[in-house]
């Protein structure tokens, strides 16, 4: 297989991450082999395409927040080490920001940074708003 074609594939997928953060980690892994893609990476690249084939209509769904916005319902989750940043410390001290413990299984950023089992993958995928087009049926009518 041609190395250039592999780079084109990864490049094409990178642009897709704009609306598909669920493939972010996979694409990140693929991009490690841009210089000399091995057979294994080719296989992994095709695997991403197989995944896309069943989910090509997926995208990012931004739901309107409830009236209590900006309420406490669902805040941003940061990795623990970010908390060291002075700015965040400052915000906490000035009570602009509230820190709370998030159970490990609810760290949605994991989908961007780790390989996950199907169950966890789909759990975070739903929580970060990646879904099949909820309005498509209505438009076709």
């Amino acid at each position: 297989m041609d190395d250039t074609v592999y780079r084109q594939l990864v490049g094409s997928l990178m642009y897709l991450v704009n609306t598909r953060p669920d493939i972010c980690y996979a694409v990140n892994q693929l991009s490690q082999a841009m210089v000399k893609p091995t057979k294994l990476f080719w296989k992994a690249g095709k695997h991403v395409l197989c995944y896309l084939r069943g989910t090509s209509g997926y995208g990012s769904w931004y739901k309107q927040e409830d009236a209590d916005w900006p309420g406490s319902s669902r805040g941003q989750v940061y990795g623990s080490k970010d908390i060291r940043y002075h700015h965040i410390r400052d915000c906490v001290e000035r009570r602009i920001m509230l820190l709370s413990d998030i159970p490990t299984e609810d760290h949605d950023a994991d989908i961007l940074m780790k390989a996950l089992t199907r169950r966890k993958f789909e759990y975070h995928q739903g929580r970060i708003g990646v879904a099949d087009n909820p309005y498509l049926v209505e438009r076709e009518c």
Binding site: A26, A115, R118
Partner: protein, 214 residues
């Protein structure tokens, strides 16, 4: 196909810097600005409207002294060696994109909009506690925020710049956008299917997660 257009264009590639043009740089909006606007509008329940410029270039007086050859069919017998001096800017000139930006920019600033420090194509104004946000992308405009402000701003823009009102935003930079009450959905479904075609994987087996062996 909506209509056919014939355009008299200048051959900008023969222009020489310092003689036929000076500055040509025009800023383009950040992709992250557009993403943020989409996410914010979805969460706030705002509509996103779109407009584009029809012929703004053609009504600006040109600053430099630029000559062009007479177009075919307009030659005058006995004065074949004559050329035309441009009075207004034409499509094809190198300075046109910058001229467009400068013109729209000064219009917004004149109306009292403030410009983002992080993105020179992102404008916002607060009128009586209501917010209006505008993103400029070359000759496309995206408006969001308070619905009444959007409508009145669109009316003014249509008069000032001969802009065309494209209504609610459906498609932008390859993004397919669905705006419904209660939310907003963006996808690159067409693009995803093009990738599958290009790499000949449009009939491969289906898998549930993107990572191999996970």
């Amino acid at each position: 196909m909506e209509k056919y257009k014939a355009r008299f264009v200048a051959r900008g590639f023969s222009q020489i810097e310092g003689i036929d043009y000076e500055e040509t740089f025009a800023p383009v909006t950040r992709y992250s600005s557009i993403q943020t606007i989409l996410a914010l509008s979805g969460q706030m329940g705002w509509h996103i409207h779109q407009m584009d410029v029809k012929t703004v270039f053609l009504n600006r007086v040109i600053e430099e002294e630029v000559y062009i050859e007479k177009p075919k069919g307009f030659e005058v017998f006995s004065s074949e060696s004559h050329v035309c001096r441009l009075k207004i800017e034409l499509y094809g000139l190198k300075q046109v994109a910058r001229a467009l930006y400068t013109q729209i920019d000064s219009y917004f600033i004149g109306l009292g909009f403030s410009k983002s420090e992080a993105d020179p194509n992102l404008y916002q104004i607060v009128v009586e506690g209501k917010l209006l946000i505008i993103v400029l992308y070359v000759d496309d405009l995206i408006l969001t925020g308070d619905e009444l402000l959007i409508l009145s701003c669109k009316k003014d823009l249509a008069i000032e710049f001969e802009m065309k009102d494209l209504g609610l935003l459906h498609y932008f930079l390859g993004l397919e956008i669905w705006q419904r009450s209660g939310g907003l959905f963006i996808s690159q479904g067409k693009y995803a299917r093009e990738i599958l075609e290009k790499f000949n994987m449009h009939d491969c087996k289906l898998v549930h997660i993107p990572l191999l062996g996970g």
